[in-house]
């Protein structure tokens, strides 16, 4: 360890504690709200720590009963899984061959800028025609229709991340196999994809997080339990007449679990994927 003056060491620890508290406090408060009793949450002065632990809201949201908060929450959870899942699979099917081609062939390399540009387009520039298109196809308020719309974000995004993933697989390995007489589809399936598997997994999980997070299109193109996603359901709760803030907090905790778990488990890969994909073309 390098020798530091005492003052500097103290400064480092103080700053680290301030940073940790600033990051953690809002999370801790969200969890506390979800397990505090309603009287504790509305007491003045506020009870910071719950007098009793109340897990009833978790039970309520995770149990199906006719016309209950649980029914609405669980159907939106299912819709979010279906829409994001379908869109990610579609994005990988389109993105893997395209990203490989862009990574290996200089002549088509400029296509990656089409993908990057498409990804950056504001959703408001596409919203009205997409609305009319879905309306004409009878796909408004439909998970398949919404998944198709999510492809406008996820297909270019995934191709972009995958391109830098394939850049990391040496092309010499492919040429060697090619000389040995292997066909391209064999090389891709047996050689390149297994070698690029970590990058593909990272891109897929990343895309899943983006799909899970999406709100604007879901707000516009869904209207009830048949297609409404989790983000819209939570916005409904937050903007509605619900007086139990703990219930809103509970929905927030549950909706955050999948992306937070993905984030923590894959943190190293995610940050690497993000910096490589985003920082270099």
């Amino acid at each position: 360890m390098e020798h530091r003056p005492l003052a500097q060491t103290v400064l480092v620890y103080v700053a680290a504690i301030v940073l940790a508290v600033a990051i953690l406090m809002p999370f801790v408060w969200l969890v506390i709200m979800s397990i505090s009793s309603a009287p504790d949450l509305s007491s003045l002065p506020l009870h910071w720590l719950p007098t009793t632990f109340d897990f009833s809201r978790y039970v309520k949201l995770l149990t199906i009963a006719e016309h209950s908060a649980g029914e609405a929450f669980l159907s939106s959870l299912r819709n979010s899984l279906e829409v994001s899942g379908m869109a990610v699979i579609g994005a990988l099917v389109l993105g893997i061959p395209a990203a490989w081609a862009v990574s290996r062939h200089r002549e088509v390399g400029w296509s990656i800028y089409i993908a990057i540009g498409s990804y950056m387009l504001p959703a408001v520039a596409l919203a009205v025609p997409l609305y009319k298109g879905l309306h004409a196809l009878g796909l408004l308020n439909n998970v398949v229709g919404l998944a198709g719309v999510y492809l406008t974000i996820l297909a270019p995004f995934t191709a972009w991340l995958l391109k830098s993933g394939f850049d990391g697989v040496p092309r010499e390995i492919e040429s060697a196999a090619m000389i040995d007489g292997a066909r391209l589809d064999q090389i891709l399936r047996r050689l390149t994809l297994p070698l690029a598997a970590p990058a593909v997994t990272t891109a897929a999980l990343f895309a899943l997080m983006v799909g899970w997070d999406e709100f604007f299109y879901a707000l516009l193109f869904t209207s009830d339990d048949r297609a409404k996603t989790l983000t819209v359901a939570i916005a409904d709760l937050a903007g509605g007449r619900i007086t139990d803030y703990g219930l809103i907090a509970t929905a927030g905790v549950l909706a955050s679990l999948p992306p937070v778990i993905i984030g923590v488990v894959l943190q190293r890969a995610l940050v690497a994927g993000l910096t490589q994909g985003g920082v270099k073309g």
Partner: protein, 293 residues
């Protein structure tokens, strides 16, 4: 071994993605351009050609210009704060101290939290009757009575920016930290032995390594901030008195609440133009990184 066949093969592999981009991005974009010259509504077909009337109306309306200013303020202030706090946090996380690994792991949490949950969480924190912020500040005797952070024109935008910065500065910190870890160790220690002050050490030794990645993060965050919709929709819906209404929210209202699709399309194209300029800056920045790496 590039031959005509391998080039054709590359195009065939790209074709499905490009076809889908043309179909679900290119075609809608063309339609938005067409709508922007008409008085088309959200339902029904066509609309009459009105030339540049929608653009002229948008650029002359006080609603559009005040909304543009709101958006610019949100983007500038939140992105500037995220960059400054992100760089400071990166410099801290590059130091050696106990608990460093745990603190680095914590940084991923706000970033992984869904935007809507973040907005909802801060809306609860700012709640004027039972919110944690009012409780904390009154119990510490910093403010005398509960106040409505999101309900007052003077504080609503600041409150939203704080929520946005909290979620996004950790990402800048992680990108900055990754860049700092590419600085060779002997360069770091040599600059200490040479007795460089903290500021000049940052300016001349560390910052050159961080500049490229940070530039990219800066442009990406600015583009995202310029498109902002979700966090504001959940926290204030653009209120109070339209003080937090941004361009995406104005366009949403114009096209989908009032059904004026043509007028909304013209505003959307103005935003697209601004984003295009920023995106061109982004592509220039990554090309420079690729060349220098």
């Amino acid at each position: 071994m590039e031959s005509r066949w391998t080039t054709l093969r590359a195009w065939l592999l790209l074709a499905p993605l490009l076809a889908v981009i043309v179909l679900i991005i290119g075609w809608p974009l063309v339609n938005t351009v067409i709508f922007s010259f008409t008085d088309a509504g959200l339902v029904g077909t066509g609309g009459n050609f009105v030339g540049f009337a929608n653009f002229a109306k948008a650029l002359h309306s006080s609603a559009f210009s005040s909304t543009f200013i709101n958006t610019a303020i949100f983007a500038l202030v939140s992105v500037a704060a995220e960059m400054v706090l992100g760089v400071l946090a990166a410099l801290l996380l590059d130091q050696q101290f106990r608990g460093r690994t745990a603190l680095r792991a914590l940084m991923i949490l706000p970033w992984a939290l869904p935007t809507i949950v973040n907005a909802t969480l801060w809306r609860l924190i700012y709640n004027p009757q039972y919110g944690a912020l009012d409780a904390l500040l009154t119990q510490l005797h910093i403010i005398p009575a509960y106040q409505s952070w999101l309900g007052e024109p003077g504080t609503a935008m600041v409150a939203i920016i704080v929520a946005d910065v909290w979620k996004n500065f950790p990402l800048v910190a992680l990108i900055g930290l990754a860049a700092l870890q590419t600085v060779p160790h002997d360069i770091k220690s040599a600059s200490i032995v040479d007795g460089a002050g903290a500021l000049s050490r940052f300016r001349f030794v560390l910052f050159p390594y961080m500049a490229g990645p940070l530039m990219v993060a800066l442009v990406l965050r600015t583009i995202e901030a310029f498109k902002v919709f979700d966090i504001i929709w959940v926290m204030t819906r653009g209120g109070p008195a339209d003080t937090t209404r941004t361009l995406s929210i104005l366009i949403y209202q114009e096209a989908f609440s009032f059904g004026r699709a043509g007028s909304g399309a013209s505003m959307a194209l103005i935003v697209t133009l601004i984003i295009t300029v920023l995106a061109a800056g982004y592509i220039a920045a990554i090309r420079r990184n690729t060349l220098s790496a």
